[in-house]
């Protein structure tokens, strides 16, 4: 089960709405000691309604922040503007390195992949783990105030 504060869920939905018509993407970092979460928007360099590519430079800076501030990568999120909040085959393929080599461990095995769907009037947010061999495991979200 993924425990995610309401304000964090709302921040991801807000980002998805702000970046329409394109997909939005970002990361949620969490303090190792205080478990405080922060949402970090990352530029989608693909600028596409169908695809996201996180800015490598922004990713690097966030990873350096994680290293220096004792944070973990809690979740990687992105939006689907017109489809369900479920990992696409591309999402699964790109969770591995090299891409598609699902016999390897995924790049971020402990990290949630959060999908924000804007397919319907009410946004839908769901969380998953992507595991070896491309297995998708949905984790229920428990929202907290």
């Amino acid at each position: 089960m993924a425990h995610i504060p309401n304000e964090i869920l709302q921040a991801m939905v807000d980002h998805a709405m702000d970046d329409l018509p394109n997909e939005a993407c970002g990361m949620i970092l969490i303090g190792r000691s205080d478990r405080q979460m922060t949402v970090h928007r990352v530029t989608n360099t693909a600028a596409s309604p169908y695809r996201y590519e996180m800015s490598p430079l922004e990713m690097m800076k966030l990873e350096q922040k994680r290293d220096s501030e004792n944070l973990d990568l809690f979740a990687i999120y992105h939006s689907h503007v017109a489809s369900a909040a479920y990992p696409s085959p591309t999402d699964v393929r790109m969770a591995f390195f090299p891409p598609g080599e699902t016999d390897n461990e995924p790049m971020f095995p402990e990290t949630y992949y959060v999908l924000v769907s804007l397919e319907n009037n009410k946004p839908d947010v769901r969380a998953f783990h992507i595991k070896k061999y491309g297995e998708i495991s949905e984790e229920s979200i428990e929202s907290e105030n």
Binding site: M54, L57, E63, H80, T90
Partner: protein, 93 residues
Amino acid sequence: MSVSIYIPSPFRSITGSKDYISAVGNTVEDILESIEDQYPGFSHLVFDEQHKLPGHINIYLNNQEIHEIEGLQTKVRSGDQLAIIPALAGGTM
């Protein structure tokens, strides 16, 4: 020329969990070869079967993408910082 290289978390299994390593060379390609000498298997992560950089590998020299400079032949200076970053991507299609 000694260069500092930032290693992202998905590649740290190769470097024994080190986030920064150093290597010597005159060009980015030299540096990558030097890393392979220190950490065998590294090249397999970075290059494709034709020994070219695939699209899912991004290399930055002092925060500038190397394809905006001279690619693998980009010259390096002592104290430069190199970062090798795998793409994080996906989407509906």
